[in-house]
């Protein structure tokens, strides 16, 4: 009951079209850029895109996509990740990911970092992303 009340208090003025599921960050040592992953689920009838992300724990967050072109691995910056109506989009190793740079304090596996996901409909979702070891499989 308390949990339900807390959830109601925390919800935005309008129901967010998107939910962010299975978030995690792959830890890397020495303050190296780290990748953040999650599944974006659009439960609404309209397309919504992830258009930005920011974090109080990092100086800079960008949306990137890894591409394999003819055996060459490269990364490109993307402006938006579309999530079609009643569909999902994965930020997953080897594809879309958040590039978390310039950590503002020492980050270690087992911690959670806070990331605000910003969507094309103007909604934002604050997500506590668990930090997993470098060699975590997911």
């Amino acid at each position: 009951m308390l949990a339900l009340a807390a959830a109601l208090l925390a919800s935005p003025a309008f129901a967010a079209a998107i939910t962010v599921q299975k978030p995690w960050v792959r830890w890397l040592p020495a303050g190296l850029p780290a990748a953040g992953y999650a599944t974006l689920v659009n439960g609404s009838d309209t397309p919504v895109s992830l258009v930005g992300a920011r974090s109080p724990d990092y100086g800079s967050v960008m949306i990137h996509r890894s591409l394999d072109r003819g055996g060459m691995e490269r990364m490109v910056m993307v402006n938006a990740i579309p999530v079609p109506p009643h569909s999902r989009a994965a930020l997953a190793p080897g594809g879309y990911h958040l590039m978390l740079m310039q950590p503002r304090h020492a980050i270690r596996p087992g911690m959670r970092v806070s990331v605000r996901f910003e969507f094309s409909d103007g909604s934002t979702i604050d997500v506590a992303m668990p930090v997993r070891p470098a060699n975590a499989s997911g």
Partner: protein, 196 residues
């Protein structure tokens, strides 16, 4: 001449009899005879200058990458970590060599922290741009630095292959990110003379 005829006949007999020399059905790409033996002079992640002979006696998995690579390189190194776990005691007869294509940023100390975050069977290698280019060219590995990003960073596009050498330093197999870990484990076990 007589000897050649005899050998030919023997070969025909073997083929007809279905008892040709044991041919392992490799799950990865067989590159034997198509790529040169492992050779390089680089600096390892403890700051020591090493050449390929330091790794003779071990099966070597050679992969190119860089530490400011948060997505694909960790994915491959995690796959190689899982491979080492699956190999069990055989892992000690193998070595993963992670060669930096970004020597400007990848100091031995940074490489040391990076590779050891994945698995103790990985050695990080860096060197002068010329040393790294020599090794990359030897295996036709391409890499190039991308434009400077906001914040001053940059990415380095690079070939994603994993080159596998036997314990005598001979190039034997080529794996890619798309190959399942089970396929790599199978072929590594066969190369080490263990049951697949």
């Amino acid at each position: 001449m007589k000897r050649a005829v005899l050998l030919t006949m023997l070969a025909v007999l073997f083929v007809l009899g279905g008892c040709s020399a044991p041919q392992h059905r490799w799950k990865l790409t067989d590159v034997r005879g198509h790529l040169p033996d492992l050779a390089f002079t680089l600096t390892d992640d403890t700051g020591r200058v090493v050449d390929a002979h330091a790794f003779r006696g071990k099966l070597v998995l050679l992969y190119f990458g860089y530490t400011h690579c948060p997505d694909v390189c960790p994915l491959t190194l995690t796959h190689l970590h899982v491979l080492m776990q699956r190999l069990g005691p055989l892992a000690d007869r193998t070595r993963v060599l992670f060669v930096s294509v970004d020597p400007a940023r990848d100091t031995p100390a940074l490489l040391h922290a990076y590779v050891n975050a994945f698995d103790p069977h990985i050695t990080g290698l860096t060197g002068t741009p010329a040393q790294i280019e020599a090794l990359a060219k030897r295996y036709r590995v391409a890499y190039n630095r991308g434009p400077t990003l906001p914040g001053g960073g940059y990415e380095v596009a690079h070939s994603a292959g994993i080159y596998i050498f036997d314990d005598r330093g001979r190039a034997r197999l080529l794996a890619t990110d798309a190959d399942p870990i089970s396929a790599i484990a199978h072929d590594v076990r066969v190369l080490l003379g263990a049951a697949p």
